[in-house]
């Protein structure tokens, strides 16, 4: 059996790296956003929630198109790139991270928001009457009680980033080691009739997807039991 070509492993590493960084950023950005959505009484919060959820509905190519414009030399992405002498954020790893964060945002924000909302008012009120500052309430009550939501959000964000295709193709192109992620690689192999490589990668993705979904379900159940 022939070894897989090295560019497959480059693609795997790149994909995992992209998904890891994206997930980390999503947790950092998504947690306060989810907390705000769960707690605020602002009338326009559902508007914000709808914007966050839009990637669920929009075709990835549409999202990718606008991102391409925004990241390109004439958009804000170009201005940011100029800070280090670059011309554009499109077709770079950084651009891919930005695109992935936006594209996967609802998958992280929604479960965390639901988990925060499921806590209800009471535990937070109890903590406040025990002289916990809002910051302490958040870290010692809200976050531990929302653990299942964080787990689901992180795993979904990671998995969704691994599987993204349309946005990557629009803003990342197909640069090996920089923007050529797994899904794009599979597409490439099919285009060039390398069926063996394509089927190994595709099969790997199927196994990965199953493991992820299964693990989330198991862990979710366990956390539920602990929380009861």
């Amino acid at each position: 059996m022939n070894e897989l070509p090295p560019d497959v492993w480059i693609a795997v590493r790149l994909t995992v790296g992209l998904a890891a960084i994206t997930t980390l950023i999503l947790l950092l950005v998504g947690t306060p956003l989810a907390w705000w959505l769960a707690r605020t009484e602002a009338w326009w919060k559902e508007g914000v929630a709808a914007v966050v959820a839009m990637p669920l509905v929009l075709p990835p190519t549409v999202l990718g198109f606008y991102l391409l414009v925004a990241l390109g030399p004439d958009g804000p992405g170009g201005a940011i790139a100029a800070l280090w002498g670059g011309r554009t954020l499109a077709f770079t790893f950084g651009g891919l991270v930005i695109g992935s964060v936006i594209y996967s945002l609802p998958f992280v924000v929604q479960p965390i928001r639901n988990a925060f909302e499921a806590i209800g008012e009471r535990p937070l009120e109890v903590a406040a009457t025990l002289r916990a500052s809002p910051r302490r309430v958040f870290w010692t009550v809200a976050v531990p009680l929302a653990r299942p939501g964080f787990l689901t959000g992180a795993v979904l964000g990671f998995a969704h980033t691994v599987g993204e295709f349309g946005v990557v193709l629009m803003i990342g192109g197909n640069i090996p080691g920089s923007t050529r992620v797994l899904s794009v690689a599979i597409y490439d192999y099919v285009e060039t009739s390398q069926w063996r490589e394509a089927s190994i990668l595709a099969g790997g993705m199927v196994v990965f997807a199953f493991v992820v979904v299964f693990a989330v379900m198991l862990a979710g159940k366990r956390l539920m039991r602990v929380a009861e």
Binding site: R122, P123, E125, V126, A127, A128, T129, L130, R131, A132, S133, P134, V137, T140, V141, P144, L145, V226, A227, E228
Partner: protein
């Protein structure tokens, strides 16, 4: 009035068609009960005192410290309160110990001689065997006791309790109720206690704030309000007056104690007693009958000379009379409910001196000094 030992509140606001306009002042020693039918705003008042709810038009000062007034509003976590909710609200991700110590971070759990130290509170509430358990493995009564302990260990200067027994079954209720009074007596911590159960209040409270439909009808000492015919308490079917008595004599041969109150002395069976000890008793209006002459041969132990201070029609054919004990009725007051028929047959009227026969005197609890 010295503002340094009172809590004064005034809250006004509208909640979805419900108007709250409640103001009262009550001492910050002893137990104050907020009493009224469900939906009268008791819980809202308590939440406002805690700062859990903020009304634009609100005032709250405790011991001269303004917690809420005008634009100044001290957030919940900066108020030295303990709050026990209707349901225990234990943190499910912490053990019993973790819950108990949540409001006491960094505080050494062992501080000998402290009346509200960890060991003392645990012992007071009987939690020794539960410390390592998860909240979901506790019974309802146990959970509520942990919640009370958790509130106590945060060193409150005022303990607010919102019907802490209402979610419990009668057995668990009987388990927690005596704890509450013992707590109060041993910690000398003021309580504000919301309840719609007069039996709980008779056991616990010293002061009463009577609420109805968002307003305060009256506030004052429990016995006084119970015996005020102008208030709805006196015309309730279970109307009763609570009196704090001193055991003036005890006859162990018959198991009978003499309980002295202002203007008279009650006799009641007691299993054991110490002369000089204080007992709280209640005299139900329905257990009091009136006679023109002192009955001579009767099994009723208590016959006391009284004077009718006032009479108010209660139900359709009933009259509730306020009776003053002792000469000229100057002593403690009790209530009597008699039928209008008897009232007219005996030609009773305000100012009459007669004899009250009291079928039974309920011993509520021992009281602290």
């Amino acid at each position: 009035m010295n503002p340094s030992s009172f809590i004064s509140v005034a809250f006004r606001g509208v909640f979805g068609g419900f108007v709250l306009d409640a103001a009262f002042t009550t001492p910050t020693h002893g137990v104050t009960a907020l009493f009224g039918p469900s939906g009268c705003g008791k819980t809202t008042v308590l939440r406002c005192i805690a700062g859990l709810q903020r009304l634009a038009d609100g005032y709250c000062a405790v011991n001269g410290d303004v917690w809420h007034g005008g634009r100044s509003f001290r957030p919940v976590h900066q108020r030295p309160i303990g709050y026990v909710f209707q349901e225990p609200g234990l943190f499910p991700h912490l053990t019993v110990t973790g819950n108990l110590l949540y409001g006491a971070p960094g505080r050494s759990p062992l501080r000998p001689g402290d009346p509200a130290g960890f060991d003392e509170v645990v012992a007071l509430l009987g939690l020794e065997k539960l410390l390592d358990r998860a909240p979901r493995k506790l019974s309802g009564g146990e959970r509520q006791r942990v919640a009370i302990g958790r509130a106590l260990l945060s060193r409150p200067q005022l303990l607010l309790m919102d019907e802490p027994l209402s979610a419990l079954d009668p057995q668990a209720r009987d388990e927690v109720l005596p704890f509450l009074r013992r707590l109060h007596d041993s910690l000398s911590l003021p309580f504000i206690y919301v309840s719609h159960d007069m039996r709980e209040i008779e056991q616990l409270a010293d002061h009463l704030v009577l609420m109805r439909a968002g307003r305060v009808l009256a506030a004052g000492p429990l016995g006084e309000l119970q015996g005020d015919p102008a208030l709805p308490l006196a015309s309730r079917r279970d109307a009763a007056v609570t009196l704090d008595a001193v055991v003036s004599a005890y006859d162990p041969a018959y198991g009978i104690a003499m309980l002295a109150v202002d203007g008279g002395c009650f006799t009641a069976p007691m299993r054991r007693s110490v002369v000089g000890g204080r007992r709280r008793i209640t005299v139900a209006a329905g257990d009091v009958s009136l006679a023109r002459e002192a009955p001579r041969a009767t099994t009723v132990l208590n016959t006391l000379p009284v004077r009718i201070l006032s009479a108010t029609p209660a139900a359709e054919h009933e009259i509730v009379a306020v009776l003053g004990l002792g000469p000229a009725g100057a002593g403690s007051r009790i209530l009597a409910r008699v039928t209008r028929l008897s009232w007219e047959n005996l030609r009773l009227a305000e100012g009459n001196e007669l004899y009250a026969q009291i079928k039974s005197v309920a011993l509520v609890r021992e009281c602290a000094k």
